[in-house]
Symmetry: C2
């Protein structure tokens, strides 16, 4: 690795849903609508992001689809690509960008997950990342009557991660000697059988895969509930978070880094990347116009139905007039799905007392922050968050794809580069190298 | 689809273990030893096979690795690629060849499997095939004390296939209308929720993937036990079988096609491809020399240990002298692993009464037939089997990779083409088109 920058720089991830549409932007003229089954769309996005030196592209995922007619009719909530299959294809179409896939600890088996990421890491040349998710639903597709309970999901997630990383350490990096002359394929002293027997899993091992190129693929994590933060502090290396304002973001940032420090992990071992959706114009007026176009392309019902359902507000926003004020019940039952997102939304509504229209406008990015402005203004904002303890970088969500992606890579990235805040070329080859994270040594063979 | 051949032609599949070495050939000079972690090896094999117009390449798989020092030291039984991740990469590096992956019904969840194959089918342009396996072991890595019982595995496999195919039929082919003008994403009338509640699985659906391009990916199957044949007759479209002689092969062929006919399936709906490992020379003497070189590169202990273990003979072949006759106990307990392979081997030993050396020589291809000869002799053999009710084609195993692969594609394929027995160019684009199988209509929306 050469050319390591002298100063700390932003890390940038690109967020995708797996269907390439951000829920409510698919009707915009600059949005592709076939990216969930036409892989060439994603190949093109990945190559553009790589040309812009993004650290990683990141796939959200879920393991269910809604079946109610209104959602089916209007919301692009299905279909989506299976993340590992898609990322493997993108690995072949790119050379440097990190490839981060969400895979559920609630509805997968750790042996299968460990294998898949080990394979992805090898075939991508060390660019794999696993976004550890407990899922926001899906029990009905996995032999259960309901979604696994939130607390149990996180308990299972901790153990799941331990099993997967334990399996990755099955073989020393140099276990496979493959010496034709002597007939020695592997060195048995360089194998450690896991023999895991825990609360949720019984997994003997060894993994039938070589140790990943990065030691371990990068572990990312997105939960921001108490359970989520505990998991992030222990194992997360790249955190995708949601924050509506800088104070919230700083509090989260300090909290997680302190929790990690208490576990012996340095602040540089965890990159915190709040989600943000920029709408970019060469002037503020142009940005405002673009934002207006995006709002025009959206269906209020779709956004409000999604908000009502995924954050479990206890009210149906679609039944209210757009100019009505949102009145929440005093007691809102804790959701079993996305608890941190529910809290973010409820807190914001109680504080701002918005109309339905205001809520609809502000929360178009699924709880993530919107920035409508010039490349300079967006770079100013990024720099401010970055330099004042609110973020190590950003998880960028595009208001349309490819339109918003092109705007960001063509207008904002050069501005960040001009300021020395972002790389002009990749310094290394692996995702760990992009993030300045050390390769993980095998706990058994140093 | 154009240029369909006027006469019936052979179907050819290429068999890989996922580590690119056939167990005992890795020490041969013409064998790559890094194909389990260097994806460019498989890219090169896939492109050569595609240039030779092979119908499909096929990956064996398992979900465990042996940990005993002798096996670890000498046998390339680990590592191997996770098949879906590898096939997805190969889909991007090829354009026509079918991509068949083994995925276990014993140690996976049907929702995850249905998604992964739907994604692979879309990104490969309709070239995916699922080899339905119940696995020869692995329970220790999936929360069990032992491998699932053989009978229970097949019972589960039947239901697993029903759930997967049911999920593939969640959406009509034209469900996603994606009309920006009207805001209509999908047609709710074109969705059928599965609501499966069975003995082994409870899966509501719908799948969060579009219907596969082929309707259903091709379903292949390799079990030849009674349970295996029952499954093959019901759902198999491409069968990878093992047969040591033509009478056996004909009996199997007739049996399976009759069982299928009893279920209303025509003989052309099931392609039976016995495994065969050719060792090819321009003269018989050259072929014999090559065979000698292959034997020299092998370790008798490795082959005999593998045979003793996977077929559960009740004796340890490695403790016998090479010139000793193999004496089997009168009663051999039925294995819970690969029952049909055990039967094949035991029957052959009882009939032939071989020495250890003879057993070792004959069974180097893991129970598959060896053919040592000229391209003409091998083509004669293929033609004889093909035209007399023993095979619809062959699953070709390479004695070394790339050496044996190059010999086959450069010497045998042209001879088969010259005889009109094999295509000179792909007639279609999808694996179903290569196999002359109709696209599967959605059972709910015709």
């Amino acid at each position: 690795m050469s050319g390591v920058p002298a100063r700390r720089q932003l890390k940038l991830g690109a967020y995708f849903t797996g269907s390439a549409v951000q829920g409510d932007s698919w009707r915009h003229p600059a949005s592709d609508i076939d990216a969930a089954w036409n892989v060439q769309r994603y190949v093109s996005y990945a190559r553009k992001l790589e040309a812009a030196c993004f650290d990683a592209l990141f796939f959200y995922d879920n393991v269910f689809a809604a079946a109610d007619p209104a959602t089916v009719a209007q919301s692009p909530q299905a279909p989506r690509w299976e993340p590992m299959v898609l990322l493997s294809a993108l690995a072949m179409a790119t050379e440097r960008i990190g490839l981060v896939g969400s895979v559920s600890t609630s509805y997968s088996e750790p042996y299968n997950v460990a294998r898949a990421f080990a394979s992805l890491d090898h075939l991508s040349g060390g660019r794999a990342g696993w976004n550890v998710v407990t899922s926001t639903g899906g029990g009905e597709n996995f032999n259960l009557d309901a979604h696994r309970d939130h607390g149990a999901r996180y308990e299972r997630a901790h153990e799941f991660v331990d099993v997967v990383t334990g399996l990755w350490d099955s073989w020393a990096d140099d276990a496979f000697v493959t010496d034709k002359a002597s007939g020695r394929w592997a060195n048995p002293d360089k194998l450690r059988v896991l023999n895991h027997r825990g609360q949720h899993f019984q997994v003997r091992g060894p993994l039938n895969a070589p140790r990943p190129l990065q030691g371990w693929p990068v572990i990312s994590q997105a939960g921001a509930s108490e359970d989520g933060k505990a998991l992030a502090a222990r194992v997360g290396e790249m955190l995708y978070t949601a924050a509506q304002d800088i104070d919230e973001a700083r509090a989260f940032y300090a909290d997680v880094k302190q929790r990690a420090a208490a576990l012996g992990r340095g602040p540089e071992q965890i990159h915190i990347l709040p989600g943000v959706m920029p709408v970019i114009g060469r002037s503020q007026a142009e940005a405002d116009d673009k934002w207006g176009e995006l709002l025009q392309a959206r269906d209020a019902d779709v956004v409000l139905r999604a908000l009502s359902s995924y954050a479990s507000l206890g009210i149906d926003l679609t039944r209210l007039a757009l100019d009505a004020r949102v009145e929440l019940p005093d007691e809102i039952p804790l959701t079993n799905s996305h608890q941190s997102r529910q809290k973010l939304l409820v807190d914001w509504i109680r504080k701002e007392r918005p109309t339905v229209q205001q809520l609809y406008t502000r929360w178009s990015a699924g709880g993530h922050r919107m920035l409508v402005g010039t490349p300079q203004a967006i770079a100013d904002d990024f720099e401010h968050w970055f330099s004042t303890g609110a973020a190590d970088g950003f998880n960028v969500m595009f208001s349309s794809t490819p339109g918003g992606l092109d705007d960001f890579t063509q207008l904002v990235v050069p501005e960040l580069q001009r300021r020395g805040l972002f790389r002009r070329a990749y310094e290394g080859r692996t995702l760990r190298e992009h993030l300045g994270l050390a390769r993980v040594p095998n706990r058994h063979f140093r």
